[in-house]
Amino acid sequence: MFDDFFIRALVAGIGVAFVTGPLGCFVIWRRLSYFGDTLSHSALLGVTMAYSFEFNIAISVFIISSAIALILIQLQKKTNLPGDALLGLLAHSSLAVGLVVIGFLAFIRFDIMGLLFGDILAVTVNDIIIIWAGGALILLVLKLIWKPLFASTVNYELAEAEGLNPDRAKAIFTILMAAIIAISIKMVGLLLITGMLIIPAAMARNISDNPPKMVLFSIIGGLLSVVIGLFSSLEFNTASGPSIITAALFLFILSLLKIKQSIQLKN
């Protein structure tokens, strides 16, 4: 019934959704939407590096995105520019440099649309292994730093005063963000990865009243988006990334109905 590539895409997408769910909640709680965007834009540079040096794409993207994150932290300390200006600077300059480097790689056939918007045909068994092994590792680390990360998200000084070392948790979380972008870039594409992080979590926020519930709904929302999105991309022959994000958007709109209801109940 399904072609083999489709099953591969489904398995890969489900793996991605399990990880973007909880990470996306932190992206929303900590107001990191544009930070995620910057990292994913810099991923293009990582991809071109991978092609230039015949290196694994996920690892290359991970290295470049982590480097950009570290540069950002340094710039925040050493300049007086506001955070959003620095994010924009890094996002667009790394995207531009990536595209310039692609120009030099004319000898390689390069599917730039697939790179920007995701390509289910491109998902290999190797990618699935990277997504599931990498994803499991990301979730494990996230579980280990959950307490300090969450506490410092609520109130930095409480976490610091009560001995939780929030700075370390924040640094590790930054690396986890680079990692999820690295492993999911083939599925969703680098322009839409942040959507996969934010939209299911935003949907979950609308229908949850406590953190564990929001994480759970965020995962469920991500899984539904992947399944619905991939089936419709097969049906309508659309790119996989945009289809998944569109499905997530529909779920978000549905969740707005729930908000309306609860407001009416209160009145």
């Binding site: 929303i28 709680w29 107001r31 307490k147 969450f150 506490a151 998200t153 609520v154 109130n155 000084e157 409480l158 976490a159 610091e160 005063a161 009560e162 001995g163 939780l164 926020r205 949850s208 009243d209 406590n210 953190p211 519930k213 929001m214």
Partner: protein, 248 residues
């Protein structure tokens, strides 16, 4: 001040500057098990800064701070909870340490807000939130409690009850308390040691000693000095017919 095994945190000539301005300078104090140390002083005198130095929130400090415990409960002066976080009182109680359900209930009962356990944190009133903050700090049975104006926004009867609770906790848990408060009446009746700040340590000692101190009087006025003296129950001055105060 020689440190001993009862010392929980000790500041030696500590100071902190921000943007080239000293927020507080040259503070020495020590909090011991079972003792309540109170910081008083006018606005901007560095009370909260001193607390944050003691807690290790400020790291680039002048002087030294020695902390002998990691079991700390903190009630900050200002806490803003973001609406993007769906957070119930119960979730907030286990924020920095996983504690048992009974311990959560017990602490919330002590501060009189157990009925709010499943309420969203954003829906609480200022006074209710303050009670939750205090409950959270004591629920983990800390060695050191740092309370930065813990009863702000709490109604008058609640204020007295909470101060009594704080005193009781320091005895029961044998924990040290670093307290910041504006309410001289209530504070003085429960405090072992008072440090009066005004960008530096203006004076320190037992409540009685501080009340007699001339710098303290200059800072807070004669009225405040009398407030403290009430707890002494000895009168060190007489009133003339014109209402003037004469020293004995």
């Amino acid at each position: 001040m020689g440190s001993n095994s009862n010392t929980l945190v000790k500041l030696k000539n500590a100071g902190y500057q921000q943007n080239d301005k000293w927020l507080v300078k040259g503070v020495s104090l020590e909090v011991e098990k079972g003792k309540i140390v109170t910081l008083i002083g006018p606005n901007g005198s560095g009370k909260s800064t001193t607390a944050k130095i003691a807690l290790g929130i400020y790291k680039k400090i002048d002087g030294e701070v020695e902390k002998y415990t990691n079991k700390v409960g903190y009630v900050p002066q200002k806490v803003s909870i973001d609406w993007t976080l769906p957070l119930r009182v119960r979730d907030f109680m286990v924020l920095t340490e996983s504690i048992k359900e009974e311990a959560i209930d017990e602490a919330l009962s002590l501060t009189g807000v157990v009925h709010l356990k499943h309420k969203n944190l954003g829906n609480l009133s200022g006074g209710e939130f303050q009670r939750v903050l205090l409950a959270r700090a004591i629920s983990k049975k800390p060695d050191l409690l740092v309370l930065d104006e813990p009863v702000q926004g709490v109604d008058f009867t609640g204020e007295i009850a909470l101060y009594e609770l704080i005193k009781k906790i320091s005895e029961e848990l044998n924990c040290g308390i670093l307290l910041i408060s504006h309410d001289l009446h209530t504070v003085m009746s429960a405090t072992d040691h008072v440090v009066c700040l005004n960008g530096h340590v203006c004076c320190s000692g037992s409540p009685i000693d501080v009340a007699k101190n001339n710098e303290y009087k200059a800072l807070f006025g004669e009225q405040a000095a009398q407030t403290l003296s009430i707890y002494e129950h000895k009168h060190d001055h007489v009133h003339s017919h014109e209402g003037e105060i004469k020293k004995n």
